[in-house]
């Protein structure tokens, strides 16, 4: 099924959200360094240049509500199709920096405030 097959890199971040994790505080992250690695390490490829997600490849990460432990777990041992990012290539600290970056991003507008969108898809 294309809906499945096209979810080629459907990152499992959203799946991990349902798991129970001890919510240990995230290590202090460097937002600027996180932004740099979000681009250079390929996160943008599936989750979008601004971590807004893409319908068929990866969920939205901006302002993620995932606890850091779950974020890190998904990075290391991803469910579904996401490629793994193990410690030799993304350290815990770099992961924390990326986490800090995506948490820091601005909120998207409410769809109801966008006339172009609200006027579409009327049944």
């Amino acid at each position: 099924m294309k809906i499945i097959a096209s979810s080629f890199f459907a990152a499992g971040f959203s799946l991990a959200a349902g798991c129970a994790f001890a919510q240990t505080p995230a290590p202090a992250g460097n937002i600027e360094n996180g932004k740099k690695h979000f681009a250079s390490d390929g996160c943008y490829q599936c989750h979008g240049a601004n971590a807004d997600g893409a319908a068929l490849t990866g969920p939205k990460l901006s302002r993620t509500t995932l606890p850091f432990d779950a974020f890190l777990m998904q990075l290391r041992k991803p469910s579904a199709e996401m490629p793994p990012y193990e410690a030799p290539i993304v350290s815990d600290q770099t992961a924390a920096d990326i986490y800090a970056f995506v948490k820091s991003l601005p909120a998207s507008p409410d769809a109801k405030s966008l006339p172009l969108l609200t006027g579409m898809g009327v049944k």
Partner: protein, 650 residues
């Protein structure tokens, strides 16, 4: 051809005469060059003396006929004119020079009209897009050997996508008639072998009568479900041979007789109807099903009878996207819950019902319930070859009904109606559930569309919302597959008419998007009053940017939007996956995959071909105005290309 002796100047008189007769302009140009170089023409190509002339001819040279009124190629045109072929697309090639001249002069360049393409992949790709809109084949002419090689990938796409088209190629004829050099390189014993694995039928007719019969047969076969490309080789000698009245009178062009399509066994349809009516949670999966509005309407009727959800895999425009039974957004869940699955013309039944994980260990699992019944109506098994693996993995169906699903649909509907009997309200509760679910789809699509609304690069949802705002009052038709920009056209737009969407390439051969759009736009132009629009990946566009020239030259207006993520982004992701898997250099996936440094100016590129070019647009706030200008230019009759800098994926 007579041989010249070693003591004689190496002048091929017959070739010389042919060359002058056919390419007088080239001959004059050569003389001009010789003059410019201060070389006497006689020193470069000495005119043959009487002895040489005598040695080359079986008769005195003054008796040689150099012109004629009718040739075999004229008759070939007569044959093609009996078929419903409106266009012949071609990149020039000397192996079909006789035919080309006959089409444009003897045939008066009408039905078919000759279209100039700048690569054979465009000729074939145009035919691909055209057929999916016009519902009939157009033709492409391919140069002997090299032209077929250029065309091969586009033919493969058409094969995989089950699209009819008439392909012609040529060969220079028997050895004694070939000029040395190029004519040999462009001659072939079996030219079709290059593409035989992915054409439905081919032939190399050795007489004009044979050409007539083979060409008519090829057309019929190409259109029979499942359709596909067919290839006829027009022999060079047959093309250029003189055709006297006596010989001409003996030739007969067979009547075109289009066959009816294969309809399912009534007993099988009855069993299928029983299973569907008895099911608690039926689901209809549809893929390469509808080839007409009739097919769309019939599927709506079946779905409404059963109040069954439809999950569309989008290889064609199968079902109205705003209908409450269009439930593709939760296709995975519906398959998982279903107790009876009806699959109509699946491209990949296994892929519909299973999931394969792309990790170190390739694991797969079924996504349906173990006891769910699967009924498949498809022509898939009627066109399977051994070599290329587009047939996909074998999947177990409880009922595998080999038939054309669209042609069989009225009979399936009748069978379902009989099974339902008088209990017309039997499935009302299920229908209400579907209505409730459908309301949520729109809200969810809008909510997801708002994410990254103001982002630069521009999001897929923003592009499709802005685009819709500009074309919603037109009789629009979308001509792209566009999995790579989030399928927003299916999530946000009301697709209702069959011609509003034409599906994907079939074989995933990169380059399909611009060339199929050009062919589809041609068919939309001829249909009158439609507004054709395509969103084309930058990687795809770079395979054939010169489609813009053909569009301008032949006055085929359309709005092309470059979804410019400056990469072969699917490949970026593949390399990233490999680097991650190997735990090394995760920042190097861009090597060999991105299209930057320098960035390509697609608007300038379009302008260089004579089209209207707009962009690049990277600020979403400027997008609406750019699209508005583009729409106005298309309505004024122009091909337009707008370069939009977009997110890697929509």
């Amino acid at each position: 051809m007579k041989k010249t002796g070693p003591d004689q100047p190496n002048v091929d008189r017959r070739g010389f005469l042919k060359g002058v007769a056919v390419a007088g302009g080239a001959g004059m140009a050569a003389s001009s060059v010789a003059r410019a170089q201060g070389v006497a023409p006689a020193a470069r190509a000495a005119a043959p003396n009487a002895a040489q002339q005598a040695a080359e001819h079986d008769h005195p040279p003054e008796m040689e006929a150099l012109t004629t009124e009718k040739t075999g190629s004229d008759f070939m045109v007569d044959v093609c004119k009996t078929l419903s072929i409106d266009y012949m697309a071609a990149c020039p090639g000397s192996t079909f020079r006789g035919l080309q001249e006959s089409f444009i002069n003897y045939g008066q360049n009408k039905k078919p009209e000759w279209l100039t393409c700048l690569h054979e992949e465009v000729s074939v790709g145009m035919a691909h897009g055209y057929a999916k809109v016009a519902g009939k084949p157009m033709a492409a002419m391919l140069h002997g050997t090299v032209g077929v090689q250029h065309a091969a990938m586009a033919i493969y796409n058409a094969w995989c996508d089950r699209v009819p088209m008439m392909l012609f190629t040529a060969s220079a004829g028997p050895v004694e008639d070939r000029r040395p050099g190029v004519e040999w390189a462009h001659s072939v014993q079996d030219g079709a072998v290059t593409v035989r694995d992915f054409t439905k039928w081919d032939d190399y007719p050795w007489s004009l009568q044979s050409f007539a019969e083979s060409t008519v047969r090829a057309y019929q076969l190409s259109c029979a479900q499942p359709p596909g490309p067919v290839l006829i080789t027009a022999d060079g000698k047959l093309q250029e041979m003189e055709l006297g009245k006596k010989e001409s009178a003996k030739l007969k062009i067979p009547k075109l007789s289009m066959g009816t399509q294969a309809v399912a066994d009534p007993a099988a349809l009855k069993d299928a109807a029983k299973m569907l009516v008895a099911a608690e949670n039926p689901v209809i999966l549809v893929d390469r099903y509808a080839r007409s509005q009739k097919g769309v309407d019939a599927l709506v009727k079946l779905a409404e009878l059963l109040q069954a959800p439809v999950v569309d895999n989008r290889s064609r425009m199968n079902f109205p996207t705003q209908h409450y039974l269009y439930q593709s957004a939760r296709g995975g869940a519906l398959v998982g819950q279903a107790d009876c699955i009806l699959s109509l013309e699946p491209v990949d039944l296994f892929g519909q019902l299973n999931r394969v994980r792309d990790q170190m260990e390739r694991t797969w699992r079924s996504t349906k319930k173990a006891n769910a019944k699967v009924v498949c109506i498809s022509t898939h098994d009627l066109m399977v070859r051994a070599n290329y693996q587009d047939f996909q993995r074998l999947s177990e169906a409880d009922m595998n009904i080999t038939a054309d699903a669209e042609a069989s649909m009225p009979y399936l509907i009748e069978a379902v109606q009989r099974e339902i009997g008088e209990n017309k309200t039997k499935f009302e509760a299920r229908g209400q559930k579907m209505r409730d679910a459908a309301k949520g789809f729109n809200d969810r699509a809008r909510a997801e569309g708002a994410i990254g609304w103001d982002s630069s690069p521009i999001s897929g949802a923003r592009l499709y919302a802005e685009l819709w705002n500009q074309i919603k009052n037109e009789d629009w038709a979308f001509m792209s597959p566009n999995n790579y920009s989030g399928n927003w056209q299916h999530r946000l737009w009301p697709l209702e008419k069959h011609y509003q969407y034409i599906g994907a390439s079939g074989g995933s051969g990169v380059g399909y998007e611009p060339v199929a759009a050009l062919g589809a736009a041609l068919a939309h132009r001829d249909a009158g009053g439609r507004f054709p629009v395509a969103v084309i990946g930058d990687g795809n566009f770079n395979m054939a940017p010169h489609v813009m020239w053909s569009a301008v030259h032949h006055k085929i207006p359309f709005l092309g939007i470059i979804q410019n993520n400056r990469a072969y982004h699917q490949e970026v992701m593949h390399i990233q996956r490999m680097a991650n898997r190997h735990n090394r250099a995760v920042d190097s996936a861009v090597i060999g995959t991105v299209i930057t440094d320098p960035n390509i100016d697609y608007a300038m590129n379009a302008r260089s071909y004579g089209a209207v070019g707009i962009g690049p647009i990277s600020d979403p706030k400027e997008l609406g105005e750019a699209l508005k200008k583009g729409v106005a230019a298309v309505k004024a009759g122009n091909p337009v290309l707008i370069d939009v800098i977009m997110q890697p994926r929509g």
